[in-house]
Amino acid sequence: MSLEISITPEADNSKRIAIKGSLDSNTAPELQQIIDAEINDTTTVTIFDFKDLDFLSSAGLRVIFKTKKIMEKNGGKFLLVNLQPQIKKVFEIIKALDGMNVFKDQDEMDDYLTAMQNKVKEEN
């Protein structure tokens, strides 16, 4: 029931946050601290990777939504990838998937990011 968080800096000030274990009332403050330290107005894309997340409660959801709000306020992108069935179910219950960028796996997300980067290059 512990939580492991690994943060991988990616190109163009993007951050991938992989979360393993249980994101609940005991562990959500730990994630919030890391978000506060790592995500700021220079972050262009924040990716939550839930491949190894096996439990999510409303305390964890609040951290996720707060991060999404920060990214939207700063004009950045907020992405979720690799939602396992039990995690997807929680998002569906509270009808939170509408308007979210959710990708079933890495390949699908990579295609999206490549298209996004190409669009930026074309505009410049």
Partner: protein, 144 residues
């Protein structure tokens, strides 16, 4: 086997967030030892975590360690978890709108929506100055 009292297990914890781990361990052991299908576990774990955290956050005006009693029961096709606290009278099943009208808090709105979605029956009673909240989930035995 259908008499729920024969299958009663209890746990007493305190109104502190860290004790949700004990609650989770208790549930897992009860489900395992009573041959209740494992698919019930995830839904019920989340439902009772939301209930318990609501108690730790809001039930007591004066800070302190207060007992929270847990009772698990089963029949051949249902499992029920009852969570009992001696905090302020609080029915989590009242709609948020109603609570706001009554100038009551509604922070747990997302939590109660999750509880209602993941369990088949929810019941609240105020008994002897205590909040008694029970969630019940039906299950069927899966055969390979």
């Amino acid at each position: 086997m259908n008499n729920p009292s024969q299958n009663l297990k209890t746990l007493s914890i305190l109104n502190r967030t860290a004790d949700s781990k004990k609650l989770s361990t208790f549930l897992a052991a009860y489900i395992s030892s009573n041959n209740i299908p494992g698919y019930i576990h995830d839904d019920l774990r989340l439902a009772i975590e939301e209930t318990f955290i609501n108690i730790t956050n809001y039930a007591f005006d004066i800070k302190g360690a207060y007992p929270v009693d847990i009772e698990a029961r089963r029949t051949t096709d249902t499992i029920s978890i009852t969570i009992i606290d001696s905090g302020i009278a609080f029915n989590p099943l009242l709609d948020c709108d109603k609570r706001i009208e009554n100038n009551e808090h509604c922070e747990g709105g997302m939590g109660i929506h999750i509880i209602k979605s993941l369990t088949d029956k929810q019941e609240y009673n105020r008994i002897n100055q205590r909040n008694v909240f029970t969630v019940t989930k039906h299950y069927t035995h899966q055969h390979n």
